[in-house]
Structure formats: structure tokens, C-alpha cells
Amino acid sequence: MTDRTTQPDDTSGLPLDGIRVLDLGMFWAGPFAGKWLADGGAQVIKIESGSHPDNLRILARGVYPNGEPGERSWNRSGMINERNRNKLGITIEMGTTEGREIFRRLVAISDVVIENFSNRVMKKWELDYDHLSKINPEIILASVYSQGSTGPESGYVSFGGTLEQLAGITYITGYANEMPGVLTVQLPDPAGGAMATGLILSALRQRRLTGKGLHIDLSQRENVVGLLGAQVLDFGMNERITERIGNRDPHMAPHGCYRCSGEDAWVTLAISSDDEWAALAHLIGQESLIHDDRFATVGARHRNHDELDSIISDWTKDRGKIDTMHQLQDAGIAAGAVYTAADLYADPHLEARSFWEATDEPDAGPHRFPGRPGQLSKTPLGTRLPTPTLGQHNEYVFRELLGMTDDEYAALETSGLITTEPTEAAQKGRL
């Protein structure tokens, strides 16, 4: 259905070649799904507006090359550039009837719409599934809600961090027998984005079977609770509330994170069997401990875990974390140095796997960003296009895809329905 003659990139042969996606996603979860589909060869059109650009373009404390916002800072924000590759970028003032009319025209020629607004927004715009399916009965609307479209808390706003708390991860994360902490890695967003992508692909299959589009009502909170199935069942089985146990493990011992030489340098290791324990004892030159009653058996190692920790720390504390990781792995022991971003970028394994992908944003310059968890043998996925600048592909989308005339297009620009710059008000947020 897509006119390829002037399409900015070539997706032929890729799995999703020919699928068009309208990506209204903001922040992370929504755009993450859009990126997945774009990687897969879909034509993903990221839709923002001057008044409401993706917030990651205008964060209060954004990340810019060499820390300099520079001109057009909204195109230089690392957070936006890291997660919108392979997309086309356009702007539409969705707040206006005219803007939404244009959007409807795009819906008519698209397969998928992704949004992660709070559940009020699309209704307010009369762009919820009922309305969209009237425009295009085969449309698939993927709503990446924080808590789903229904229920008393469905309107509540959230971020990855708050979802971790609401879904129970934060409560079970922390130092044993101490107060909890507000600890986050924002895992819910990539998890929700990936789940949404899989569901969109499943929905495409359902559409192939039924000829009908559908609405995906995804709750990120539920998606995260789903990562804790065993803990949920444990509550029902044993009326037990999972508590914080630091870096310990219910089954493996020793199992922990040990200080190495250097600033804030650490290595983790996990022992799952008597044989691995023997291997560790050999490695740290303490063969005598192998049959020591305190450590010889599984139960004993759990009971005397504190003693073990100090013995292991004594060994690790004067060693480099990376060398230690290699030594442990060479001995057949599961171990991992606590990597910083710098360590990740320097890691030879990821290098050998060509995990990092080069992009060259018009306003931010060449950089390397992470690839993806899955690689396909016959249709390798990669970075074809850098993250678009705000409204970068307005012309292609409105002229080529919607077939607007020069006058119509000029009218759009002058009316301010489309733009390549955030409004003053929008930029104020960054101050």
C-alpha cells in the first residue's frame, strides 16, 4: 500500500515491510514499541506537535552532546535519539479539529496506531478504538496504558519508577531486613514496550484470520506483576509476603555481590551446586573449605552465608572486577562484574556481536546506541535511519502519502498545524 518511490528508506524483504504504524507514543514504552516495529521494517510515523513534542525532547534536565543543548536542542536530546531510530517524524496539532482530521486521513491508510497517553486523551479527541475502527475497520489500536483502560485507577499517571512500586518489585528490592528504598531502573517501560510489540504482531495475525482490526488494552502495571508470578502464587500457597533479601537467593549459596579493587567496583557470583562450590574453593585457594562442615553441603552454605561472604570478599577485594569475572567464569562459575555504562560500551563480547549501532542525527551528530535483544538470521535488523528531527518528514508524509497539493501543504505550515520547532510554552518546560 505504500508508495516506495520516495520513501526515505528501503524496507523490502524485512518482516514488516508494507506495514504502516502511526506512533503517538511519548516518553519510553510507546516509542519503544514503535522502534521495535520500525526495526522490523514497518513504516513507523512518529507523530508529535509543536505544543506537545515528545517530552524526552524537552526534559528539565536533558542529555545533550557534550552537555550542550545548542540550537534546536529538541533534536539533540539523547533520550529521544536513543529510542526513535528507523522512524519517520511528523507534527500535527492533535488538539485541533483540523489536526485530528489530518490524523484520520492517515489512519485510513495505516495498519497500526500506538499510543501511551493517559486513558482520557484518545476519548477526548474522539480517536478511541470505536471511532478509529469506523474510519478503518482493519486498524489495530495499541494502547500502552499505565493501568489499563478500565478500573478506578485507570486515569492515574505513572512512570517506570512508580509502576515498579505499584507492581511489587520495589518492595522486594533492597537490603535484607531494612527499610525499602525508592530504587528503580524503569524496567516497566522496555518490558511494556516489548509486550506491546508482541501483541501488535499477534493482533496482525488475528486480523489476517478475521479480517477485522482490534484494540489492545495493555496495563503496564499488570505486565510487571506478571514478572513476579512465583511470588504471587507463593502468597496464595503459603500466605507468605515476599520480603527483601538483598542479593541472596532462596536456592543458591553463596550468592552475592562482592567488592573489588577500584572505585565502586563489584563482582557478583552465584553457586548452585556442591561442584561449583568446590570449584570456587579451589579458585580462591581454600581447598580445605570444600569439606568443612560449615560449607560442605547446600544447607550449611545457606546457614553460614555471612561467613562465606567475608571469605569471598577477602579474596575479591584486591582484584579487578573484570579479571575476577573472567577467572570465575573460566572456573565454570556464574559471575558478572557490575558494569557501568562505560564498561558496557567497552565490552569485547558486545563488540564482537556488533550490538552497538551507529546513527548520525542531523542535529546531534554520529553516535552509537544499543541494538536489540533479538537478531534474525535471514533478515538482519539494524539502524537504517537516525531518529527523526521534529517534523522532519512532514513533507513526505503529507505530500506523498496523503497527496496534499502545494497549497494545502503551505496552508498547513502557515496555520501552525505542523512545524519543526516546539512552541515557546512547550520549551519552557526545559528551563
Partner: protein
Amino acid sequence: MSGPLDGLTIVEGGHGIPAAYCTQIMGVLGANVIKIEPPEGDETRRLGPFPNDAPDRESSALFLYLNRNKRSVTLDLDTPSGQDLFRSIVKRADAVVENFAPGYCDERNISYAALSDEHDSLVMSSITPFGQNGPYRDWHATEMTLFAIGGLMNIVGDINREPLKFGGSPALHVAGINSFTATMLAMHLAETAGIGQHVDVSVLEGLGASHFQDLVDYEYHRTVIRRGDMRTPIPTSDGFISFQVQAHVYNDFRRLILGPDAADDDRDAASAIQAQQSGEMDLEILTWSLEKTKLEAYRLGQEAHVPAAYLADMSDIMASPQLQAREFFVEIEHPKAGTLTYPGFPAKLTGSDCRFEPAPLLGQHTHEVISEFTDLSAAEIGELQAAGVL
């Protein structure tokens, strides 16, 4: 139709969480999942918790959750007889999802190359900690070590103490979601163009692609982000809450705590928030929070459009009005473990329903599946059982 993946037959192999969670999702969505277990069973059958803490290979909470909706076939893949049966089953399946160690399948002549030989549109997803190649290919890994190498552990915990893993095994579960997505991507091409392929999923790379900010900080201006001083949440009468205050809601937040007639803060949002986070309003916040339950405080915050959250433990999760209103939890009856409450599915798709059948007993469907997928007679199946292959 019951689910979007109706009619898909998925063969699952290997041990542990990622592959099992991936196919668990597919099973809920309607796929016919055949779990190939070694005669001694999937390792997760050994992992607690168990009902009444009584270890039993049929009632591991982790196993019950990861493997619902599946059929279990026991097969000794170390024998040519077992490998031959595996190939016959795959011949009639659409996809294989496995997390055997790298090289395992090649040694047994059930690699993608071997399997796709007679099956062009076969999709095979291989999930491993570090991927199918590269120097760490054969390294051992656990949730914690991957969380560490993945660069996430570095930002969890207190800067003056050891970094922390997340509780439970979320990273390995997310790897399962990533595998689901990658597999579906390949399935799309297989079903529309008849082209199958091998999908190489790396748990580590999934984590590497899941950083919010610190990678960019390093790439853009070589700043290494570490965990800071651990912020403790705000205590309430019965637990903890926290606010994630941003510029555009900062004054709403002031009014929430200080009262409706509190004046706007005239500082710029950024520095105001910084001040607040470094404890400027702590006393006022405590006075406000301590006389509320965590749920009340959470609601009041949200109604004031301030992103608020409470630290939910498992009892809070099960009692959550929101999750209950969504009918998120489902009850499943299992012959050995009894009727238990499980997480349902995080999404509702119009026009299809989710499926929730109990996890299989070890080898429960060996006879059924072997007769369905091969031409073996009952006597031949009996011989294979006696020989320990099935």
C-alpha cells in the same frame, strides 16, 4: 476465535525461565505449546516456593506459572532415538523456542540448520544469556550476574554499599517477553512469505537495550551515572508512598501538601524540585502522610495529578482495587497443586479471549503428543518408555 495465535504449534525446549515465559505468553494467546522436558523434568520443577514448602516436582510455583496451557512430553535428547522424535515433532510444528546452552542443539543434530532442512518456514528462537556467538557465548549466568553485566545493578542501591539486584527474576522474565516479540516478528514473515529463520535472542542484550538514561549520558558526554544516596520512601500510617514530582505539576504538589491556598513557588521548576528532593519539604510531607494510609495518600496525590505510588507488597497487589476491577487474577485448578490464584494476562484484545489451563504433569502428554505427531504404535511407545527415551 479463542486467541490470536490459534492454530500455531510451538515446540519449547530447554530449562528455566526465558523460553518458558515466552511460550507461556503464546499459550495464553491460543498457541498450542508442546513442552519438551528431559526425563528428569525441567529444572524449574525443583525450584520453590512450593505449597506448604513441601518440594514436589508437580507444584513448584514458578513452574506452575511459567508452564500453564502447555502439554508436557518427556524426551531424552541425548539419544538418537530421542533426537529423531524431536525432529518428527518439529516437522509438524510452526516454531521452536528453546534456551538450551549454545551448541547443545548442534551436537544433537537438532540445530536450526538440521530442523529447517525439511521445513522451510520453520522459525527457531534460541534464547541464551549471551547469544549464539562471541567470547562469552558459553559463560554461565543467573538473574543477578546478568543484571550486573547488563549495567542495571550499578544504578540500584546505595552508593556507599553494594549494588543490589532486583527482587525475584524480572530480568529473565523480560527476556521471555523480548523473545516473544522477536519470535512473532519472524513468525510474521514465515506466515506471510513462507520464509522461516533462526532468531538469536541474548538476555544480556535485552538488558543493554533497556537503559533509560545512563548509556546516553556516557555516549553523549562521557558521564558515568551510578546509584546515589538511597532515597527512602515516605512513610504513611501503614506503609510507604513516593512522589515523582515534575516541573509542570510542582505547584500542584505544593498545594497537595501545604493546602489549597499555598502560593506558587517563584523559583524555576528545576531548582525547586531539586530543593524538594534534597529534603526541603520533608517535615510538611511527613505531617501530611503519617495520618493517611498508603492507599489514601496515593489516591490524593493522583487526584492532584502528581505521579504518586505506594510500595505494594504481595498482599497489597492481591487486594488492589484496580487489579481486581480489571479481573487480572485468575484461579486455576491443578491436579496436584490444587486451586491457586495466578496472575492473568496484562492485556485485553477485542475479539479474542485468553486461555488459562493448568501446567502439565511431567510427561503427562507424552503418549498423546507422540501418537499425534508420529506414526508410532502403542507398543513402540512402550519400548521407548522402557528404554528411558520417553
